[in-house]
Structures are given as structure tokens and as C-alpha cells.
Symmetry: C2
Subunit: 185 residues, 2 copies
DNA sequence: AAACATACGGAACGGTGTTCCGGATGCCAA
DNA sequence: TTGGCATCCGGAACACCGTTCCGTATGTTT
């Protein structure tokens, strides 16, 4: 038991994390494995040992931000004048996060096996938060009550795709329209 | 002049079109070039000669359906009880088209150079139709007047991504919510 | 039938992700 | 300190992918 990890292994993992973060900023989350390896001064095998799938690497890089977003849900609910306002603000947080990570929104709903874990992680962590905000708003009659967190998160994620690609497309605005469409009739 | 095309060239082009259509149904619009070539009993060079980019091939395969969708716009506008209803129906047409083509929605907003033409073709053909429906609805005060066709088409295309992937995500429903969000406040 | 223009096939190239294993390296016990 | 072992590393190698290119084959015209 307690098979403590070798020091160089842990060191490489941290180096890799930093290199990946830098590469993601420079070339998006699709940055070639070899490029990340080179940036870290490491062989490609080392990447796969620490992060078997690309999803593992992406999750590791953005975990803190996702966590922060998840935790902001209850906070906003408590601090906002209404659940509907809180929902709007929280969604904005999520959109801002996605929009500033090149290719992340695209990767999130890719059907490639390597991205399944990524999809699962984001959903597991954020859907419950979204659902609770939705429920609170629905309980007050502010929005329709037949919308579930999964579907809304999925849709918002999709709307963020191509956000940086065309200057004529404003993902934030379209998400707002979507949220507006949630209002009870 | 009148350098008439060789008979075998035209024959191959048609064979290729049929093979591509079949391959798209079987494996989505990302079907490997070699797979399409094999299906047509042709070398890969022949594909590139007739369809320099993948977008050219996709456009050729779906041109008729896109055209039909575009032409349905004015028809629906004339036949519906209100512009807003016509808009909803027309968008549904577009969504049905996209959702039944594996990977097409994804390809539509890919930033890869090969797909630029695809993006451009769809937009050139459908945005004006969408814009006229939007304008008609806005003129009657049914919807907000600050929405343009491009942005709406872009957003609807995005919402169609992953439509077949998860049974829990219903693209048609989310598009309806988006359209509902367009209503004038 | 000959000669020419055109189109074809598929090998070859550069770039991906992913696997695999001989060799180097940290770690611990003696 | 040193020996030996488990762990970890590097990068070559493989399997795909899109794309290009040119010797060869095939239509077309004279």
C-alpha cells in the first residue's frame, strides 16, 4: 500500500499541466499532443501515462474554474433578487468561461470517444447546479417548469460554439435570447 | 470553345455523388475520402478532380434539399396566419434537414478551411430567406427587431449539433425555446 | 487509325493520435 | 554507500487521415 509516486513523475505531471494550459491558450484544446510534449520538454509517452485521454488533460487544466463556476450557483441564488436573475447570471459565468477557451465548446459535444469523459465531467458537475436554479425559478413561476438542467446546459454549450470564429455571431446574446425563451407563458 | 466534357468524367461524377450520399448516410459527412472512393470504385484522385474540397461534395449532395428549403420561405410566409408562425415553421424545416444528416451541423461551423465554402453556401442561400421572415415578423411587432438572419441561422445550426448523440437532448425543442425568446417584450 | 487532350488510379507525403518497450532513473533496503 | 528493483521516461513505430502528383489509360477528333 501507500506506493508513493516517484518525485520525477509528479514533477512531470505539473510541468505537463502548465505546458498544456499554455498550448491550449495558444492553439486551442486541440493542440497536437507532440506540441504539448515538446513544450513540456517531455516525450509523448509521458503525456499518455499521466493523462490517458485528452479529456483527462483538459479536465485537469480547467478543473478549478469549473469548480468555481459550480460553487457560484448557490451563492448567486442567495445573493440575487430572484431565481431567474440568478440563473441568468450563472449562465453568463458559464458562457464567459466557455467562450474564452478556444475549441472547448466544440470539444464538449464531440462524439469522439476521447471526449466522452470531458462531456461527462462538465455535465456531472454543472447540471445539478443548473437544475437547482431552474427549479427555484420554476417554483416562483418565473419560467416554464418542463425544462431540465441537462438539456439547457447542452444547448448553452452548443450556442457557444464558433463564438470567436465570426465577429458577427455573439454567443452571449443568443444565450440571453434562449434564456428569455424560458419565461413562463 | 465548347470543350465538351468527356463521357467517363461525367459518369464518374454522378457515381461519386451517389457514393458520397450513401457514405454520408452510413458514416456521416466526415466519411473518409478513401471510403467514398472505394464505394464508387474510383481512385481518390478522381474525387479531388471533381470536388476539390469536401465542401464541394457536400454541397453537391444536398443542394436540392437546401434549395427546396430556401424556396419554402416565401411560400410559408404567404400561407401562414402570421409571419411569426411562418418563421417557426420554416425554422422547423431547416432543423429537420440538419438533424437528419449526421455531422452536417458540426461541419457547418467547423473552422477548417475545407468547410468554409459549405458555411458560405448555406448562409448565402438561407440567410436572406430567414431575414425576410424576421423582417416581416418584426414589422408586425411580433418579435424584437434587433435580430438578424445570420445570427439566428448560426444559432439554430449550433443548437442542432449533437442532436442524434444524446437521446436526452431534443434539438427541436431547444430551437423552439430560442424562437420563443425572440418575441417582443 | 493516328494523334491529341483529358481523366484516371493509386503511390507517396506530411500530419495526426496512440501504442509499446529498451533503457534510464528515483527509491529503499541492506 | 551501494546494490537492486519497481517505476517511469523517451521516442520509434504503427495506423489512420487528407492531399498532391504524375505515369498511364481512355475518350475524342481528325
Amino acid at each position: 500500500m501507500t506506493p508513493r509516486k516517484r518525485a520525477d513523475a509528479e514533477r512531470n505531471k505539473q510541468t505537463l499541466l502548465a505546458a498544456a494550459a499554455a498550448a491550449f491558450v495558444a492553439s486551442g484544446v486541440d493542440a497536437p499532443v507532440r506540441a504539448i510534449a515538446a513544450r513540456a520538454g517531455v516525450g509523448v509517452g509521458t503525456i499518455y501515462r499521466h493523462f490517458p485521454t485528452r479529456a483527462d488533460l483538459i479536465v485537469a487544466v480547467y478543473q478549478h474554474q469549473v469548480e468555481a463556476c459550480a460553487e457560484a450557483g448557490p451563492t448567486l441564488l442567495a445573493a440575487s433578487s430572484s431565481p431567474h436573475v440568478a440563473l441568468g447570471r450563472w449562465i453568463n459565468l458559464f458562457v464567459d468561461f466557455l467562450v474564452t477557451k478556444h475549441g472547448l465548446a466544440e470539444a464538449l459535444q464531440s462524439d469522439e470517444a476521447a471526449f466522452q469523459k470531458l462531456h461527462a465531467y462538465f455535465l456531472d458537475r454543472l447540471v445539478p447546479v443548473c437544475a437547482s436554479l431552474l427549479e427555484a425559478a420554476a417554483a416562483k413561476g418565473e419560467i416554464r417548469d418542463d425544462m431540465d438542467g441537462f438539456e439547457l446546459m447542452f444547448a448553452v454549450g452548443n450556442l457557444c460554439i464558433g463564438a470567436g470564429a465570426s465577429p458577427r455571431y455573439d454567443a452571449r446574446r443568443m444565450v440571453e435570447v434562449l434564456i428569455a425563451g424560458l419565461r413562463a407563458r
